[in-house]
Each structure stands twice: as structure tokens, then as C-alpha cells.
């Protein structure tokens, strides 16, 4: 039975205090949620607990004894385990070798006992309801959900007395989430201290005993979860009431994009229309084929059969270049790896979609590019002093706005956005919603893929639910509900 205490922890980065004099205790046998926007200091706190960062001042106490956690190794020794957001897996190695990374069962000559390794892994996978997985399978072959489960298994294999989970359900389906929650309840009973970090407020209320709120690195209080209302929690996280998302439909009767019976490797016979000025949502579980549909429309994946008609003209895009020329833009899901050039400046990123257009002709005109970037910055409200700094120095929300700005410069008629608010804070989310609504009002058609159901319900005119590569159903605005979407998506 171990309790962990942060005692006046402060951590500063150049220009920002990430954690400001934080005092909080995590008790054995409780599930303690940590809530806050991105940039509130949650990940800094975690990084300090796992030895990736050192606090500038303050102490970490385990049962009242001071701990020095210099690196992830030390954290292991003290019984602190962390479930990362699929960060800590090595793709080319097997499930078993990942779960027991650096702790493989071995004899006294350091020779690994592979039999025992696989047997222990099988037991663990069984506990997690993953009996169908072979411990020798390389992680690269697993689905996103199963990878996350392996990540969880890796933490559990350490028999931690303190377990930290960072957005563990982001890529899990309902079924796996339920298994995870059952396991967490059991660990709580056994006296493990569980620290649960999540953007999903529903989960915080469903699961946790207490919740600690952080905002801009400052402690906003710890509450018994049953005593705090959702609105109150949000108010403390963002410091202002969030206005409800309700948009008037701006859809016209003119068909902009007509997708006729298209098929690809991961989806079959998909048909739908998007009208001018309309926002259509694509709901579904991760891996249902939504991203693949979007990529096919964009010409990034090959169309096997069917046709795509844009403004009454057949679109035959074999490469994104042709789709862009015809007025389609696609904002991909993985912002960092697919949407940005992380080592380049904000300006370079904004003008990258169309260099000739943004920078005035065949020869690159630096001052014109800069002006274009500055204009986009002001239009979309990107918080950045100047546009010369590296794009990675912006917050997640501002990075996403940079990606949007870049695609809007191509003047698209159809904008496809894939998980546009994934991993960005509540305030920035609402700004992105505002931008999307304005674009629809201007007459652009928007196809929005999202796993955030309230967001789809708030923003879309229609929602298509994709299940295992087919259209499982279409829901009109008056009938929107999370239950309805989920029942179509899961099954």
C-alpha cells in the first residue's frame, strides 16, 4: 500500500511555468483523475513522476519518504508504472518482448527464457480478454486498439503500486474500455493507487473517486467526483462557461460531392452526397475505414471501383495533386506526422500547400510568403508572435490551425477534416468549430471524420455511420444522439 504525494512541485520552461507549486496526494486504493486542458500541466506532471523531467523545486514523496526519480528506470524501481499513448512500443518486436521489455525472464547468465516469457504473456493477455493474440506476433501487425491494450499489459506486468494512465481509451472500443475499467476496479480493490488522465469527462465521472483539476500549470482543487457537477468541472478547467454548439444549417440544395458506390481494400460500396455549405460527419470506430474513404476521395489511395463526382464532373484523381487542383483539401489525422513539417517555420508550413500561389510566381518571394502567412494567421486566430518560429513551438490547437490555414490557401470547395480536434484543448476546439462553421457558411462543403461524438452532434447537418467498411446508417439532425450513433457503429 503506497501513497504518492507531490509536495510543492514547480517546473518552469522558458517563458512558461508548466507546474506552479502543485500539492496533491494520490492514495492507495483510489482512482484519481487528473483533468485539465492541453498545456494545463498534466503531461509535465506525468513526466516528472516517470523521471523524464526533473522538478525545479519541490519533492515527490512515497509514503512520506523523499523520492529521486532521475529516469524511467528509477520509476520502475519505485513501483510506478505508466500507460503511454502508444509511445513505448517497438513495432518490429513481438508482443511478449514489448510487454517484458528490459525485464525478460532470464537465468543467471542473462539468457532469456523464451518459454516462460511467452507463457507469462499468454496469462496476461487472457486477463485482458485478448486470448486470440499470439504472444509472438510483432506489434506492427496489431490494430490501434490492440496496441493500446499491449501498452496497458506492459504496465500491468510490472505489478505497480502506482499506475498512471495517459488517455488510455483514446483508441479503444467500448468492449476494451469495459475490460480496462474492470481491471482498474480490481487493482483499486487490491490497493493500487491509480492516476487517470483523460480528456473524456464522461470517463472521469464513470470511473474516478476523486478528480484533481489543473489549469495553466496551477492547481484548481481536488474534489470527490460524485460531489462535482460536469459544468463545474469544465468551468474550473477552462475558467469560463462553454457555450453550447448549435449551428443553423447552411446547406444548400446543390450537390457538391457525389460519391457513387466506391470500394477499396478496407471499405465496400460507399455512396453519399455532400451539399454545398453542408457539414457531413463520418462516425464510426477506429479502423472502421473512415480514414481510408477520405484518402481515396483525396486520391491518396487507389479507387478499386465506383466513381467520385465533383460539381457534376467525374473526378479521376490518381494522386492528391489532382484532387487539390480540383478543389479538394484533406487535413489528415496525425497532425505531427502527416500534416506538418515540424522543423520548419509557421510561415513555411502555411504556404507549403501551394508555393506558387502563396509566394507569387515561379520564384519564391520571401516577403510575399510572409505576408500570406501573416494574413492566414490573423484570419484563423493563430496565437503566434510573428510567423518565423518553428511550428512545433506552438500549442496543439495552434498547430492544427496552421494545418487548416495551409489547406484553405488552396481554396478548396470540399474540405475533408480527419479528427480535427484530437488531442487539443477545449478552448482551441471551440475555435476550430467556429472556423469550420464559418467555412460552411461561405459555401464550402465539409466532410468531418471524428470520434468525438458530442462534436459531431454539435456541428454536423447529417451523420453517416461507418461500420467495418460499409455505411451502417445515416442520421439526420433531429435524430442525433450518442446512443444512436454508437449502436450503429458498434454491433
Amino acid at each position: 500500500m503506497q501513497s504518492l504525494q507531490l509536495d510543492h512541485i514547480t517546473k518552469k520552461f522558458p517563458g512558461v511555468t508548466a507546474l506552479d507549486d502543485i500539492v496533491v496526494s494520490f492514495l492507495p486504493g483510489e482512482i484519481h483523475a487528473v483533468a485539465g486542458e492541453n498545456g494545463a500541466g498534466k503531461s509535465t506532471m506525468m513526466n516528472i513522476l516517470t523521471g523524464n523531467l526533473q522538478p525545479d523545486s519541490g519533492e515527490i514523496l512515497l509514503n512520506g519518504n523523499k523520492l529521486v526519480i532521475k529516469n524511467p528506470r528509477d520509476a520502475f524501481e519505485y513501483g510506478i508504472a505508466i500507460v503511454h499513448q502508444h509511445l513505448s512500443l517497438v513495432d518490429s518486436l513481438s508482443i511478449a518482448e514489448n510487454i517484458y521489455a528490459n525485464r525478460q525472464p532470464h537465468n543467471r547468465f542473462g539468457i532469456i527464457r523464451f518459454g516462460e516469457l511467452y507463457k507469462k504473456t499468454t496469462v496476461l493477455l487472457h486477463e485482458l480478454g485478448l486470448d486470440e493474440l499470439d504472444p509472438a506476433t510483432p506489434v506492427t501487425k496489431l490494430s490501434a486498439a490492440n496496441r493500446q491494450m499491449v501498452e496497458i499489459a506492459k504496465a500491468l506486468a510490472q505489478n505497480p503500486s502506482i499506475l498512471i494512465l495517459d488517455e488510455p481509451t483514446a483508441s479503444l472500443t467500448e468492449k476494451e474500455t469495459a475490460i480496462l475499467f474492470t481491471i482498474l476496479h480490481r487493482l483499486r480493490k487490491q490497493g493500487t493507487a491509480i492516476i487517470y488522465i483523460s480528456h473524456r469527462l464522461d470517463e472521469i465521472f464513470r470511473l474516478s473517486d476523486r478528480v484533481t483539476i489543473l489549469k495553466d500549470g496551477k492547481y484548481q482543487g481536488t474534489f470527490a467526483t460524485k460531489d462535482i457537477a460536469k459544468d463545474e468541472l469544465i468551468r474550473r478547467m477552462v475558467g469560463r462557461e462553454i457555450k453550447a454548439l448549435k449551428s443553423q444549417s447552411t446547406a444548400s440544395t446543390e450537390i457538391m460531392l457525389d460519391v457513387k458506390n466506391i470500394s477499396g481494400p478496407r471499405f465496400k460500396n460507399i455512396s453519399f452526397q455532400v451539399y454545398r455549405g453542408e457539414i457531413v460527419g463520418l462516425a464510426g470506430l477506429i479502423g472502421a475505414g473512415r480514414t481510408e474513404i477520405a484518402r481515396t476521395i483525396f486520391g491518396a489511395d487507389r479507387l478499386e471501383s465506383g466513381e467520385i463526382v465533383l460539381r457534376n464532373k467525374k473526378l479521376d484523381a490518381h494522386h492528391p495533386r489532382e484532387a487539390i487542383a480540383n478543389g479538394i483539401a484533406y487535413v489528415p489525422e496525425e497532425r505531427k506526422s502527416l500534416g506538418l513539417f515540424p522543423d520548419m517555420s509557421v510561415a513555411d508550413n502555411i504556404v507549403s500547400a501551394d508555393l506558387t500561389l502563396a509566394a507569387g510566381g515561379k520564384f519564391y518571394n520571401h516577403s510575399k510568403a510572409r505576408q500570406t502567412a501573416l494574413r492566414s494567421r490573423d484570419q484563423l486566430g493563430i496565437t503566434s508572435k510573428g510567423v518565423e518560429k518553428k511550428v512545433t513551438n506552438l500549442s496543439g490547437g495552434n498547430q492544427q490551425k496552421v494545418v487548416l490555414a495551409r489547406w484553405l490557401l488552396t481554396r478548396p470547395d470540399v474540405l475533408i477534416v480527419d479528427e480535427p480536434t484530437h488531442g487539443i484543448d477545449v478552448g482551441a476546439k471551440y475555435e476550430i468549430y467556429g472556423i469550420l462553421k464559418d467555412l460552411a457558411k461561405e459555401g464550402k462543403s465539409i466532410l468531418m471524420i471524428s470520434s468525438d461524438l458530442p462534436e459531431l452532434i454539435g456541428l454536423c447537418d447529417r451523420i453517416l455511420v461507418i461500420r467495418k467498411g460499409i455505411v451502417a446508417g445515416e442520421i439526420a439532425r433531429p435524430d442525433f444522439s450518442e446512443e444512436k450513433i454508437m449502436s450503429l457503429a458498434a454491433n
Binding site: 509511445l87 518490429s92 518486436l93 521489455a101 528490459n102 532470464h106 532469456i112
Partner: protein, 316 residues
Amino acid sequence: MLKKIIEDRVYSLLVLLTVVVVTAAFVFPATFPTFENFRQILLNLSIDTIVAVGMMILLVSGAFDLSVGSVVAFTGCLTAYLMHFYGIPVPVAITLGLTSALVVGFVNGYLIAYMGINPMIQTLAMMGIVRGFALMVSGSGIQNLPYWFNAIGQSKLLGIQMPVWYMLLTVGIFTFLLNKVVAFRQFYYIGGNERAADLSGIRVKRVKMAGFIISAMLAGLAGILLSSRLGAALPTMGRGLELRVITAVILGGASLSGGLGKIPGALLGALFMGIIANIMVISRISGYWQEIILGVILIGTLWLDKYLQKRYSGST
């Protein structure tokens, strides 16, 4: 089984080698499939393969070392220099020679792992520095090495020259280590995903540095064997060896991005190159063609690999 052959380069290369060897045996029944010819092929590739084992470890960990060819020359020359000019006993000279290789590996590893210098640039610079030292100690070359020193590389066991046995021993030992031993498995974690390895509690920097030290030590061993076999130490030994070895290791299944490859792959890659070169000599193809054909084979193998992976990975 088919899946295994496609996915594991060690198996696909074995199949390919068998096809090549059987074909060559039919086409050149008098000259190719003889004990003498195979003994010669193995002897010719023994030095390269010992270096390739170290290179494979580095590529698994996501790095590579261009200075190995120079280390081969320098270690051989330094050992010869100590014995020839100072009369230092053979075992002591060899120990000092290997120590010098260790120092080179340590400097490479320390600067790359701890100071964050790019491996390509660090080892490229070291390649020049060490070659310079080799020239400095040996001048135009050192001959008349002690009898016992020459015996290391020139004697035979079961009719096969010793370097071949050293090569097989090295391959055997490191195959076991990289497959089964905790400390060596870490190379796969680091090459597969360095950040993930760090979060798993692996001492990434230390292990990376160890990779460079092992690679340099094996190059040192190869240098000593080579000068012993030649009965002389030349400052030009091992020129171009680094690229040959990297080619063999990539053929053997390593990837420049790390995390992939097995030690037997290093041997098979070198063997494949050795046999192709041998067949070309037997069939009297000009030396110019050899380089061209080897380059084409390397690209062809990687292309075929990509093609097969793409074609068959959809079914899993």
C-alpha cells in the same frame, strides 16, 4: 513456410543461395563445386564477415560505422609496429592492438550517443583520422612479422584455414548473444524505437555506445587476422571494406532505419557476394562487371523484398 521465407531474409537468402550454388554447379561442374574452391570463397570472405557481424549489431541499433575499414588497417599496423620495432611479445602486442580499436569505438560511441553527433559524420571523420594514424605507424608497410603471429592466420584445422574458423566462431557467438541474451536484445529495442526503449527503462546511450565499441573491436580483430594471414601489415588494408560490409549486411536483412536483421544474415549476405564474385571469376567476366552486377543485385534484392512484402502483407 512460404510466409516465413518471404518475411525472414535469412530464409529467403538461403533459398536464393541454394539456387545460385546448384545452378553454378551444373554450369561449371569441374571448377565450381570443389572443396578447394569453397575453401577459397570462405577464406576470402572471412575478414569481411567478422567486420559485418559488428556492423549488423550497429544497424540493428539504428546506426552504422564507416570507420571500420580504417580500424582494420590501423589495428593491424599498430600490432605489427609494436612487434617489429619494439620486440613486444605477440600476445601483448595483440592486446594493445585491440585496445586501440576499443578506444576508437569508445570515441565514436561516446560522441554519437552522448553528444548527439550524427553517426555518418562522426564515423566519416574517424575513417580519415584512423587511416592517417595507420599510415603514420606503418609507413609503406611492415613485413617480417614473428612466426607465432603469422601462425594465427596461416595455420589450418581440418584442412581449412584458421580465419574461416574464427569467422564461424564469431558468427556463432554473436548469433547466440543477439538472440538470447538480455543485454544484447536491447539493440533491437533501441533500433526499433529509441524513445520507446528509453521509456521501457533501457539505458539507450550506454547501449548505443556499446554497439560502436563492439563493432570497432571486431574490426580490430579482423585487422590482426588480416595482417597475420598476409604476413605483413599494410596501411591500405581494408580500403572500401566499410561499404562492402554494409552492402552485405543490408543484403542479409538489416535496415538503415534500424530494428531489423539477424547475425546469420551478415554471414549469408557476405557469402552471397562472395559466391557471385567467385562465379564471375570462373566464368571469366571482367572485373569491371563484378561491381556493376553486385550493385544491381543489391538494388534488385531490396526491390524484390518490398514487392513481396506489399503483395503478401495484405493477407495477414
